[in-house]
Symmetry: C2
């Protein structure tokens, strides 16, 4: 193909392509193929449909755009730059994939303003998109009035073959279809190429038919390389369907324009090479130097600045009117988008005394969630089909369903991974919604990447994980977490909390809610590990102490000879064992340690006051692996833990057989 | 419903139902609803179609049955007992869900003979079933002759709504459709109830249409409670379709027969209670005491013993003929199903000297896989669409595809979790096939439950995980594993290996292959963590030393003052740092530690010889979290590790910035 002269639109589309080509070539690393193929659909979407304000990327009513095929991030960086975002300069593009650049190897919302969510791990983005659309639907139902719609935007997702192969996308899209999320529009870059080669190797299903089966509205643009009007009409048609999410399958050629590498996996994940870059310039009639954008194209793109300013001004006007008419709603809306909590919100948290009913922390979690729900209208979550077991239903609230988007109980179905990414999407809508997602602790294994991404991308989510040890009993080793608590503690920036009783459960929520809202503007997810079995409320536990991560639950006079460290369901055993040891004249301290991460944040003086370095006789008791307990117990040998898979049996039998008894703690303590 | 008299089939079906009802009631724990609803389809399948020998559950050519909805395990235990398996006596059923019983809370293949795979975590079983069917197809293509078919069986799966909601089932079933696995037949217990309540809450997609989109043959039996002939005909029709897997949607009533709890989630996961058990007896006209099976029913069921013996005898005859005609093939087949390796197989493993080419361990892994493939025809695996990156292609082999089932390269597509469970299914076919599955190490997060289940269920799989640290570079924190190696080390019974060079990579495969085949009859999975970046081949590394998990790579004379412990890509830095320190007169030992688990298996004398207790100055260097390193380094402070998320940048820059340099090791060593 020799292009004698290019239309303005071709010039714009090729500007996107060559920014991607040149950035990947300069870095000698990256994925040029997707941006080259998807540039036309992205151009049509961003130029003609997407409502955003480049000079205020956080404008609350913007349309959300998610590049689920995150490896194609140069597409997004090119668009952000061309459209006039300050976050991506041409110099930033030249620093693609370099240390501390604004243009990392996959889109990272915490690095680059204008990027809504962190993608790259395939399928996460489309599931985040479902969460963003659910957030929009819920906020709309919460706040919109017949005469004033202040929340009214679309969520657009570009996803590829890889996203569509991942199970997580199926989970989230099945739910999106069920919920009838009409403002979710996904463009499927159907380029038939993945890393292994042609999708004929492993992926020949009828994707459109599958999405129809989910309840989506499905269209097909056969020539996604050239048919801009076809793309335009399809997006218009998708917007017109208000009670179903839309999939627009856009068939493209990966690496479009590269004469020797297009339509092959060579162009997927590697720089084209100097020769092929030159050949592509020739082929597409592109006579500009690297990183040069033709003036006409740039001028056209930058119209987005004025357009965006007027969108936001219009909205500001509408919101001002809304505020006059509905001051209370407006105040709540403003409080929510500020990321702030109401004053003294924590007074809603239940407190307990040793006389309070012996109960499972999952039940206390349920009570706390309900208490919070009454104080924080932004609470919005649910379980992956384990609501009766996870105790996550908000009483008196309906279910979030098509036609009932104001309700706050989410029914995720048996879709843990989808739930995880949906919660991340809700949190990263950045409108103050406070999502929680629940399942059995062992099934964090089904959603671990989403939990990790919540920490990486600063998504303020509360993960409510019940049935947290072999103490769950009869369901057996497939359902009994053993390594999970430790393995979650090592995820950076995730707060793991394993409360031992009611007060500690309230403390866990105090932390989780405040971290979800963010300290220093950085929201942070927390994960709660909660017992199935009943536990006593312990003398000495308080919310204020527990939020420090570890504290002295009970002590003998003077310097202790031994410190018993317990967490969660095993703490009360430590407390009882200490009583027995004290009765024998031993000086014993009991330390409750609901959260390693929080304890690590305390100053050295506090840490020393709880775990004095001079007291080296220590015994940690936790119904999980010993791995890592050397940090506090001195060595992993000084523990009563579980280092094998569990066994199906009644929970008390399992705990006893594995050594979680007062007698065994006393015996092991004496042996020290 | 009052049943005046029951047909023999009704008697049989109700026998299944009441064994489940009574066992759950006695345990006061379990899931009666599925067995009650699925008993008719299970009866038709086991009584009229399933080919097995109760007295030899390991008969190699048996049909495989998988209860993917594993919580309904009393269905399977009842069938095993009724059909005459010795593994499940009536006393075993009375011990349902008790400590060390043969009837745990979910089906466990390592506990109960006749159970093929371990299910319970939803969706795993159907994906295992895809693996079982792939194993059958591959073995058939390997061994069958036009005049002698020795591998020819079906794989039947019963799955529920929960399985169908999980993404893993979508992944595996999409691949199964692509591969056209005609001998895979899944019965979908469409009972419209999950734990939260009606599937209307979250799951209203058209499942049949979705499976059609995957390329499956789909049928619907509308009255799965009564229409035994409909079920029969559907299974017959499914068998007649030889180039597509089949889904038979069987609409049932969960808890069928319970007058007050049927068709509700109350009957899903809890005992019926004495009153409702009595009411159900009344309703179904069941006048037998708990755990009593009517003689007529038992006599009918037990015909399976004779039938099974004749199936096996017939096959033995066929195999004898095969052996005469094709002695070499027969010898291989026998060797494979014996679980044994050929003598001296390990001589195929490549060895290296310090003069060998500097290379990434992922490349050395690829070379090793190819060397093994030439020696072990049972090697059978691939990657989740990262073959060019994971280096997992067997050269000269085609791709396992419809029409080419003899080929050994598996193309899983971007379906990590599905791949995991498929590999488990291939291993648990117990025919000697040696599966491997590959992706980036960070994406173990997508398939963690399948990896865990490989360890729990003793599936001899090799997990090939490349790009094992921040050293992978530009792809950034979404792709850079940090906590993964440590978090995998803590999965019980999984061997994690992080080789440092070519010899250690060969050692890793020596271990992985031998463990996959099993020691003392217990196969065990291994996981290899391999570098993207090139590494030197180190003086002092050998296969024999590396298989011990840790060994002295280099040493100074006399007792060392300091021990540097390195793994994988960081070992060579330790070796270079030691040289510098020795040049300054320091006595330094370098310990290579490719596998914690293997080192823990060594005797105390060996352990002490490598890491003498008296040498307390230690520094561990690993590009992952410090969590747990206190075990060998004394404290986690004595490490150079990564405790935050990584960063997108060239890999060498990232490693340098995070302190993985000879200079930093020397400096930190001196500070000790």
């Amino acid at each position: 193909m020799v292009v004698a002269s290019q239309s303005l639109e071709e010039l714009c589309i090729n500007s996107i392509r060559f920014l991607a080509i040149d950035a990947v070539q300069k870095a000698n690393s990256g994925h040029p193929g997707l941006p080259m193929g998807a540039a036309p659909m992205a151009f049509v979407l961003w130029d003609r449909f997407l409502r955003f304000n480049p000079k205020n990327p956080q404008w609350i009513n913007r349309d959300r755009f998610v590049l689920s095929a995150g490896h194609g991030c140069m597409l997004q960086y090119a668009l952000l730059h061309l459209m006039g975002y300050d976050s991506v300069s041409i110099e930033d593009i030249q620093q693609f994939r370099q240390w501390e650049s604004k243009t990392p190897g996959h889109p990272e919302n915490f690095v680059t303003e204008g990027v809504e969510v962190t993608t790259g791990p395939l399928g996460q983005g489309i599931a985040n998109g479902v969460g963003l659309a659910m957030a929009e639907a819920h906020l709309g139902a919460m706040f919109n009035k017949p005469d004033a719609e202040i929340v009214d935007h679309y969520t657009y997702v570009v996803l590829g073959d890889g996203c569509n192969m991942e199970g997580i996308s199926g989970e989230a899209c099945s739910l999106a279809g069920h919920l009838g999320l009409g403002k979710l529009i996904a463009l499927y870059d159907d380029n038939h190429i993945s890393i292994d080669g042609s999708t004929n190797l492993s992926f020949t299903e009828d994707v459109g038919k599958r999405f129809e089966a989910y309840g989506w509205h499905v269209q097909h643009v056969e020539d996604g390389n050239n048919d801009l009007e076809g793309i335009h009409k399809a997006i218009e048609a998708a917007k017109a369907v208000t009670d179903q999410p839309s999939l627009i399958k856009v068939t493209t050629i990966i690496g479009f324009g590269s004469p020797n590498k297009a339509n092959s996996h060579d162009v997927h994940g590697a720089a084209l090479g100097d020769a092929e870059v030159a050949a592509t310039r020739e082929h597409l009639g592109w006579n500009y130097d690297p990183f040069v954008v033709p003036d006409d194209a740039l001028a056209h793109f930058r119209k987005a600045i004025e357009r965006g300013a007027s969108y936001e001004a219009e909205w500001n006007q509408a919101f001002a009117t809304y505020k006059t008419k509905y001051p209370e709603d407006a105040a709540l809306f403003e409080r929510m988008i500020s990321g702030k909590l109401p004053a003294n919100w924590e007074q809603c948290l239940p407190t307990y005394t040793p006389e309070s009913k012996k109960d499972a922390t999952r039940n206390q979690s349920g009570a706390t969630l309900n208490a919070i729900a009454a104080t924080l209208p932004e609470l919005f979550g649910g379980s992956a089909d384990l609501a009766p077991s996870n105790k996550t239903l908000i009483k008196g609230e309906g279910d979030f369903q098509k036609g009932n988007y104001a309700a706050r109980n989410l029914r995720f179905g048996v879709r843990e991974h989808g739930m995880g990414a949906i919660c991340n999407g809700i949190a990263l809508h950045n409108s103050g919604l406070l999502p929680y997602g629940a399942t059995f602790l062992v099934f964090t294994d089904y959603m671990r990447n989403a939990i990790r991404l919540s920490a990486l991308s600063r998504a303020g989510v509360i993960w409510v994980m019940t049935h947290d040890s072999i103490g769950l009993g009869e369901d057996g080793p497939t359902h009994q977490p053993v390594e999970h608590i430790a393995s979650l503690r090592m995820i950076p920036d995730l707060i793991v909390l394993r409360p031992a009783d009611g007060n500690e459960t309230s403390a866990a929520y105090k932390v989780a809610v405040e971290r979800a809202k963010g300290i220093d503007g950085k929201p942070q997810p927390s994960l709660l590990a909660l017992s199935r079995q009943g536990l006593p409320n312990l003398p000495g536990s308080t919310i204020d102490k527990a939020v420090k991560g570890a504290y002295v639950l009970s002590d003998s006079d003077g310097t202790p000879e031994l410190i018993l460290i317990g967490t969660g369901g095993e703490l009360y055993l430590c407390a009882e064992a200490a009583e027995k040891l004290r009765a024998e004249g031993k000086k014993v301290r009991v330390v409750s340690m609901p959260s390693w991460e929080l304890f690590e944040e305390q100053d050295a003086t506090y840490q020393e006051s709880v775990l004095p370095a001079s007291v080296t006789k220590r015994l940690a008791v936790e119904a999980g692996v010993s791995f890592g307990w050397g940090r506090y117990a001195g060595t992993e040998a000084n523990t009563i833990t579980v280092n094998t898979f569990g066994v199906s049996s009644p929970g008390d039998v399992a705990l006893t057989k594995f050594g979680f008894t007062v007698e065994n703690i006393v015996a092991k303590a004496k042996a020290l």
